[in-house]
Symmetry: C2
Subunit: 352 residues, 2 copies
C-alpha cells in the first residue's frame, strides 16, 4: 500500500540523455562533442587555478566571464546571462519568459528537451512540422502564441536559417518573446546576436560545450535586452545564486580570450564535415547541408537503424532516433579526420 506522503511527489517522465559508454577505445560520434581538446589557455587556467580560494563562494554574478562574453559579442555586461550549461539557461528562460496561457511554439523535429521543460513547468506548447526538406517555415509562426523557441541551426536536422528568416520571425512575433538557441552556430551558422539590439523581445542562447570543447565544465549563456536579462537574473537568483563555479568562470574566460584557437578548431571541424559529407554522398547517402558539428544522413533502401547497430559492433557510436519522420536517419558527430576515416571505411564496408 502506498503511504499518504507519496501523494505529493511529483510524477514526471524525465529526459533520457544519449548513451554514454565507459569504454575507452570507441569512436564516439554520438553526443555532438568536440573532437579537439579545449583551448590550451583554458587548460592552463585550470592547472594554475588558485585551489585554496575554493573555500570562497564564486562571484554570484560571474562578472569576469560575463564581461569577456560581453566584449566578445560587442554587447554590455547587462545583456549577458550565465548558467550551468545552456540547458540550465534555457530552463530558466522557460520559467522566466513563458508565462502565458497560450501555447509556446517550436518545430516538431528539434531539441527533445523543449517538451520536457514544458511538462516540468506546466507550459502549454504546440509544434509546427518542419517541411519535407526539414526546413522551418517562418510563415507557420504568425499565429498568436505564448512564446517561440527555435534552434538555429536546428538539431538533429543540422540545417541553419539566415538573418532574413529571423527578421521575419521577429516581425510576426511582436507580442511574444522569441528564443533562438544557437548551440551549434559557431560551425557555420548565422548568429542573431546583433539582432538583440534591434528587438528587445529576442533572446539568443549559446553554450561552451560544443565549439569551445568545454562540455565537462557546464557553461551556457544568453544574450538579450537588459529587460529580458534582468528577468532571467531574478528567476536564477530565486533558485540558486551560484550556478557557475569558480573553476568554470576562469577556464571559460580563458577560452573566450583565445580566439585564434577557437577559430582554428571550428574551421577544422567544418572542413572535415564538408569532406565527410561529399564522401557519404558518393556512397549513395542523402546528407543534409549541415551548419553544425554533425551531419544528418539517410540512404534509400537501407536501414539506418541496422547501420547504427552494425557500427556499434565496430566500436563506432553514432546516434539513431526512433522518432517518426526521421526513423531512417542517423546523426553523426564530426570527429577528427582520423576518426572519420575509420568511420567512412566501416560505412563503405557496410554499404558493400
Amino acid at each position: 500500500m502506498e503511504r499518504l506522503w507519496t501523494e505529493n511527489l511529483r510524477d514526471i517522465e524525465p529526459y533520457v540523455p544519449g548513451e554514454q559508454s565507459g569504454e575507452q577505445d570507441i569512436i564516439k560520434l554520438n553526443a555532438n562533442e568536440n573532437p579537439y581538446p579545449p583551448s590550451p589557455k583554458a587548460q592552463e587556467a585550470i592547472r594554475n587555478f588558485d585551489t585554496q580560494a575554493l573555500r570562497f563562494y564564486p562571484n554570484a554574478n560571474a562578472t569576469s566571464l560575463k564581461q569577456a562574453i560581453a566584449d566578445y559579442y560587442h554587447v554590455g555586461i547587462k545583456n549577458v546571462f550565465l548558467g550551468n550549461g545552456s540547458d540550465d539557461v534555457i530552463a530558466v528562460a522557460f520559467q522566466a519568459l513563458f508565462n502565458s496561457d497560450l501555447p509556446i511554439v517550436f518545430p516538431d523535429l528539434t531539441y527533445s528537451f523543449y517538451p520536457v521543460w514544458c511538462a516540468l513547468f506546466n507550459i502549454p506548447y504546440k509544434n509546427y512540422p518542419v517541411g519535407d526538406d526539414f526546413r522551418i517555415n517562418a510563415e507557420d509562426y504568425r499565429e498568436k502564441n505564448g512564446g517561440v523557441i527555435i534552434p538555429n541551426p536546428n538539431a538533429p536536422t543540422s540545417l541553419g536559417e539566415g538573418r532574413a528568416f529571423v527578421e521575419k520571425l521577429m516581425d510576426y512575433n511582436r507580442d511574444s518573446v522569441v528564443i533562438i538557441d544557437e548551440a551549434y552556430v559557431d560551425f557555420g551558422g548565422e548568429s542573431s546576436v546583433e539582432l538583440t539590439k534591434k528587438y528587445e523581445n529576442l533572446l539568443v542562447t549559446g553554450t561552451f560545450s560544443k565549439s569551445r570543447s568545454l562540455a565537462g565544465l557546464r557553461i551556457g549563456f544568453a544574450i538579450g535586452s537588459e529587460k529580458l536579462i534582468s528577468v532571467l537574473e531574478a528567476v536564477k537568483n530565486s533558485y540558486n545564486s551560484y550556478t557557475v563555479d569558480a573553476v568554470s568562470i576562469e577556464a571559460g574566460r580563458a577560452s573566450i580570450l583565445d580566439d585564434a584557437y577557437f577559430k582554428q578548431t571550428c574551421n577544422k571541424i567544418i572542413r572535415t564535415r564538408e569532406r565527410v559529407t561529399a564522401q557519404m554522398r558518393e556512397l549513395g547517402f542523402t546528407v543534409l547541408d549541415s551548419q553544425t558539428n554533425f551531419i544528418f544522413a539517410t540512404r534509400d533502401g537501407m536501414s539506418m537503424k541496422d547501420m547504427f547497430e552494425y557500427l556499434k559492433t565496430k566500436k563506432i557510436y553514432i546516434r539513431y532516433f526512433s522518432v517518426p519522420r526521421i526513423d531512417n536517419y542517423v546523426r553523426i558527430t564530426i570527429g577528427t579526420d582520423r576518426e572519420m576515416d575509420v568511420f567512412l571505411e566501416n560505412v563503405r564496408e557496410y554499404v558493400k
Copy 2:
C-alpha cells in the same frame, strides 16, 4: 508604454546573497565560508585533472562522486542525489516533493531561501515561530501540512537539535515528506542520515561548501530512500542532466576520501569557536551554544548594527540581519585563530 510581450515575463523578487567584497585585505566572517583551504588531495585532483577530457560531457549520474558519498555515509548509491550546490538540491526537492495544496512548514527564523523557493514554485507555506530561546519546538509540527523543512543545526541561530527531536518530527509527520537541511552538521551537530533507513519520507541534505571548503565548486547532496531519490532524479533529469561538472566530481571525490583532513579542519573550527564564544561571553555578550561554523551573538544595551558597521570600517566583515526578533544580533563566521584574535581585539576596543 510597456509592450505586450512583457506581460508574460515572470515578476519575482529574487534572493539577495550576502555582501561580497572584492577587497583583498579584509577579514571575511560574513558568508560562513571555511577559513581553511580544501583538502590537499582535492586541490591535487584539480591540478592533475585531465583537462583534455573536458570536451566530453560529465557522467550524468556523477557515479564516482555518488559512490564515494554512499560509502562514506553507509548507504547505497541509489540513496544519494547530487546537485549544483545544496541550493540546487533543495530547490529540486521543493519542486519534486512539495506538491500539496496544504502549506509546507518551517521555522520563522531560518534559511531565507525557503520562502523564495516557495514563491518561485507557487508552494504555500506557514512559519512556526522559534521560542524566545530560539529553539524549535517539535510539538508545533504536529499539524497536518504539505511538507516540513528544518535546518539542523538551524541558521542563523546556530542551534542544533538531537535525534529525539527528529524522531518526534517523523512521528508527527507520517503523511508528509520531512527535509532536514544539514548544511552545518559537521561542526558538532547530530546527523539524521542514519534515520533515512528507518523513515522512507525523510530526506537529509548536505553541502561541500562549508565543512569541505569547496564553496567555489558547487557540490550539494541529499540522502534518502530510493523512492524519494528516484523522484528527485526524475525532476533533475527533466531540468538539466549535467548539473555537477567533471572537475567538481573529481575534486569532491578526493575530498570525501581524505577523511583525516576533514576531521582535523572541522575540529580546529570547533575549538576556535568554543574559545571565541567564551571570550565573547567574558566581554558581556550573550552567545548561543553553536553547533555550526558561526556564532550568533548580542549584547544588552549595545547596538549590534552599530558594531557591525564599526567592524566594517576596521575591514572586518560580519553579518547583520535587519529582521524582526533578531535585529540586535550578529552572525559571526568562525575564521582562523589569528583572524578571530583580530576580531576579538576590535570588539574589545568597541565595547570599551
